[in-house]
Symmetry: C2
Subunit: 199 residues, 2 copies
């Protein structure tokens, strides 16, 4: 049976339920779109995928194929099983939000990943307990030996994808990041749609 490919519309959020053992493939359809990704225990949204708990679990700044991300209760929630996107994903940077665009000089409302998480979960009738620090798929934030960070373009190409296996029944949520001031979604500053599929 052909599995449905779901669109994450440009600048928007989308969430889905995933059963333990299923795999979620996140596709960078147009090649340079950052996709903020969250996961919550389906039975208890107070348990969520946590970057600060996952780093000590695999002792890396970012997960690689074979690494398992854990929750704020230190239980496995997602394993990275495939990555054709060059490995540059970010675990360091908070989701963009209204105050973020204020600091960047935006005076009107700007779409943002924190609100997109809220909206994506709302379509499933769910409310986020907080905005956890996301797994920013395809987001290229290199570090130097001295610890400096920089905003760079994704290394991915059109059709690049990442596959994550669910280690518990969970709710996954995505935001096609609407950042159009910093170059994280490509120098053109043109946020696009992305897609995902659950197998």
């Amino acid at each position: 049976m052909q599995k449905e490919t779901v669109t994450i519309p440009a600048r928007s959020g989308k969430a889905a339920r995933v059963e333990r053992g299923q795999s979620v493939t996140v596709i960078n359809t147009h090649g340079s779109q950052v996709v903020d990704t969250w996961a919550f225990n389906a039975e208890h949204l107070g348990e969520w995928m946590s970057m600060e708990h996952s780093r000590p679990y695999y002792m890396k700044l970012r997960p690689e194929v074979g690494d398992t991300l854990v929750t704020n209760e230190r239980r496995p929630i997602l394993t990275l099983t495939e990555d054709t996107a060059g490995g540059a994903h970010d675990t360091l940077i908070a989701a963009c939000d209204a105050p973020r665009y204020g600091l960047l000089g935006v005076t009107e409302y700007h779409d943002n990943c924190a609100d997109n998480l809220t909206a994506g979960l709302a379509e499933l009738g769910l409310t986020k307990p907080v905005t956890p620090s996301p797994l920013n798929l395809f987001m290229n934030i290199p570090w130097t030996e001295g610890g400096e960070l920089s905003w760079e373009e994704p290394l991915s190409e059109p059709g690049s994808y990442v596959t994550l296996r669910a280690e518990m029944d969970l709710v996954i949520a995505f935001s096609a990041c609407p950042q159009d001031i910093l170059p994280i979604n490509g120098r053109a500053g043109q946020p696009t749609e992305a897609h995902f599929r659950i197998d």
Copy 2:
């Protein structure tokens, strides 16, 4: 007037109220003790110092003298104004907690920083909304070019200190980390007291 120096007892937590403009000096009394540090808006504990919001603010893996940490609402909360401890502080690793010691093979209750935050705030009649990812003062977690992390001993010496200036009225909380399995508090695995002073 001689300012009071407050003890953070070994393996324990302690919190205090700090007014905007005051400075908090955290002293590594015995030289190799990690001190997990949190700060909350005194008027609204739902606003807290956030590592994932601070990293994009100063674009570094860890703050250096002159850098300002911000809250989950992206407002300045603490500025690092002095550091005699060699600069190795961690922003990447979650506070230790009961499940952490479970993963390390501990079967009985083990003191932990998450519970110490709870206890420190309770002495002020306060309840934490969540356990934010802490600023781990004196905690030495180097990274490699490839992104690998490792657990290392502090670079600090007896009497090394860090000073933080309050940018809003806040509640600061500390835990003298009770980690005695990994070498983060020195190879001897002997957690000690530490001290702080508010000027």
